[in-house]
């Protein structure tokens, strides 16, 4: 069952269309992420679901009810803010009890639910601490508890781990996943961090320039990227663009010095310009047996990543191919000439959109 549905939702600020006709459906109990670079409209989308912004047009439904005109305080959603927004004048208990008190629950009931929630976020014993005295990670957990204690239908999280250091991020990611599983609450999680989104999500939507580029599971997104933006934003890839020609059940796409052969079933039927994504780990260095595709290259740069090595290989026309190999042998030296090969099924045909900037 769908918990949150967006139908052709748009948001216009002044003359700027920040969100362009989005369709989304988030299932009950799902961990769903909105992933994209800053300015892609993901936070605005989340704020519309929360009720902090009103959609300019389109329909927003939560559990089947139209929410466009329901004010934020009457929505079955709660938000974990990017800047946390804990109440500095209240202690941990009163922060978490804030929503329950507003609902007018009896005191013992409030105390019980806050206690339970403190256990869930591993903060038992911190009731009377001032929130300003807590560490970043502890504040984060108070923010999550404060939202989750209200038993919202949907918990919305706006880059909640962005301000923390990497180690803490990784720990809290696991914790978030555990909390989500144990409560069965639908989570909608906004992030610009693709690793985070892939780790946490059941499904995710990649957004770019106010549009949804693709919706799917993390594996889907990686293996069957629908667009060049998705392919380049999630992981790293080699994009190859050229005319496709068909002969003998095979398609051939030529782009400069590169010529890629694939099954014609995998290439678009119209005989036009085709864009392919070739993941770096699908390319084999010095293949033992002949492969469907092959090209000569020299090692331009070597990046040792631990388990794997990332090579920037220069091909005849001067362009760079990314190649990722297991680090089971000592890395090749720069300047080494090698033969590269890949199978017919390695390159995937995708829709051409923009290309994500290399963020490292």
């Amino acid at each position: 069952m769908a918990d949150v549905v967006l139908k052709a939702v748009e948001k216009v600020f002044g003359s700027e269309r920040v969100v362009k006709s989005i369709d989304l459906s988030v299932n009950q109990g799902e961990f769903f992420s909105l992933l994209g670079p800053s300015g892609c409209g993901k936070t605005t989308t989340l704020r519309m679901i929360a009720g902090l912004e009103t959609p300019t047009s389109g329909d927003l439904l939560i559990r089947g009810e139209r929410m466009n005109d329901v004010p934020i305080n009457r929505r079955p959603t709660n938000l974990v803010f990017q800047k946390l927004a804990l109440f500095p004048h209240l202690d941990v208990f009163d922060n978490i009890a804030f929503g329950l008190k507003l609902k007018g629950l009896p005191r013992p009931e409030i105390a019980r639910r806050v206690d339970d929630m403190l256990d869930v976020v591993s903060l038992a014993g911190f009731e009377r601490r001032r929130v300003t005295e807590l560490s970043g990670g502890q504040q984060q957990r108070v923010a999550i508890a404060r939202a989750l204690v209200n038993a919202p239908a949907v918990l919305l999280l706006d880059e909640p781990l962005g301000a923390l250091d990497l180690k803490l991020q990784l720990r809290l990611q696991r914790e978030l996943k555990r909390i989500q599983r144990s409560t069965g609450t639908t989570f909608i999680y906004v992030t610009h961090n693709q690793a985070e989104a892939l780790t946490l999500s059941d499904r995710l939507a990649v957004m770019n320039e106010g549009r949804v580029e693709q919706i799917g599971s993390p594996a889907d997104m990686y293996l069957h990227s629908a667009t060049s933006f998705v392919a380049s934003f999630i992981g790293r890839t080699n994009l190859i663009a050229g005319e496709a020609t068909f002969a003998g059940g095979e398609a051939r796409v030529t782009d400069g010095a590169l010529s890629v052969v694939l099954d014609d079933a995998d290439a678009p039927a119209d005989n036009g310009r085709t864009v392919l994504s070739l993941r770096p780990e699908r390319i084999v260095i010095a293949p033992k047996t002949p492969m469907a595709n092959g090209i000569d290259a020299t090692v331009a740069e070597v990046e040792f990543l631990g388990a794997t090595v990332l090579y920037r290989m220069r091909i005849a026309d001067g362009r760079i191919l990314f190649v990722q190999a297991l680090a089971d042998t000592p890395p090749l030296a720069e300047g080494t000439a090698v033969r590269l090969g890949w199978g017919k099924d390695a390159a995937v045909s995708i829709r051409s959109t923009t290309v994500a900037e290399d963020v490292e």
Binding site: R63, E65, V70, R74
Partner: protein, 292 residues
């Protein structure tokens, strides 16, 4: 989720204008509007709206006021008094602020702050009375002078007493902005200048003073505005013998010369604004000079 069900679609978000109106409206209608109306009426009265001379609406009161050299003398002496108090106050406030910054003993610091700023909490009337006691012919100050065979000096019911008491009123207002800017000037500038071989005096003249000048000007603006319009202190310490614009205004109401009083009120306001304007220009100029 039961909370979802009941949600009226209407009247949920007010427009910005409506919100601003709700927030500003009561205060502006109840307090600001009467003030504006009062000031407008003041202008109207200065144009002889409440005709007591039979001259009709016009500039007759103004020409009467401006045509009388006595009034010009009062304006001039008010400005002089205010300017003198301002200059003396600044000359005391600047080293006081500099000294405060160098106090390391926490207890002494608290004592100094309390001594400097607590007089703000004491009624001007009480303080004027205190100065009357201190400065009278047989008061503490003249008695002390007497021990050295000096005096007695006449210090009440003349300008000397007024200025001394005014400085006392103004000093806390002057110290605050100067102290404020001094804490913002990083010591590295002074250190760099000293390192470059400048003498202490040169450093002060070329580095510290220019950097702290904006604070001095702000202080001067505040205390000039306060001193030109001061009423209680000049009245009580001047004993009616030191005539200022504000005192003359008060007397004119007793005489039911409302048109004249209105003119004087506007002249008082204009004088204060004129000096503020000049000081503000100086402030901009020094800012601009520092930007280069």
């Amino acid at each position: 989720m039961s909370a979802v069900a009941a949600a009226p679609a209407s009247g949920r978000r007010l427009s910005r204008g409506a919100r601003l109106g709700l927030l500003l409206g009561p205060g502006f209608i109840c307090v600001v509007l009467p003030f504006v109306a009062a000031m407008a009426l003041l202008g109207a009265y200065s144009l002889n709206l409440r005709d007591t001379t039979g001259a009709g609406l016009g500039l007759s009161v103004w020409s009467q006021f401006l045509g009388d050299p006595f009034n010009w003398r009062v304006i001039w002496s008010s400005v002089q008094l205010a300017a003198l108090s301002t200059v003396i106050t600044i000359l005391i406030a600047y080293p006081t602020a500099a000294a405060l910054l160098r106090v390391r003993n926490r207890f002494y610091l608290v004592v100094a702050y309390v001594a400097l700023f607590s007089p703000l909490l004491v009624s001007v009337i009480s303080r004027s009375y205190g100065w009357l006691l201190l400065l009278s012919d047989t008061g503490f100050v003249n008695q002390t002078f007497g021990l050295f065979g000096l005096g007695p000096y006449r210090m009440v019911f003349n300008e000397t007493g007024v200025i001394i008491a005014l400085v006392h009123v103004l000093l806390p207002y002057a110290v605050l902005p100067i102290l404020n800017i001094m804490t913002q000037v990083p010591p590295v500038y002074r250190e760099a200048a000293l390192d470059l071989g400048a003498s202490g005096w040169t450093v002060f003249r070329q580095v510290t003073l220019p950097l702290t000048l904006p604070g001095v000007i702000v202080a001067a603006e505040i205390i000039f505005a306060l001193s030109i319009s001061a009423f209680v202190t000049p009245s009580l310490l001047g004993g009616g013998r030191v005539l200022t614009l504000s005192r003359m205004l008060y007397d004119n109401i007793g005489l039911i010369e409302w048109g004249m009083a209105a003119v004087q009120a506007i002249v008082l306001l204009t004088t204060a604004l004129a000096v503020l304007f000049v000081l503000e220009r100086v402030n901009r100029a020094t800012h601009a000079a520092r930007q280069d």
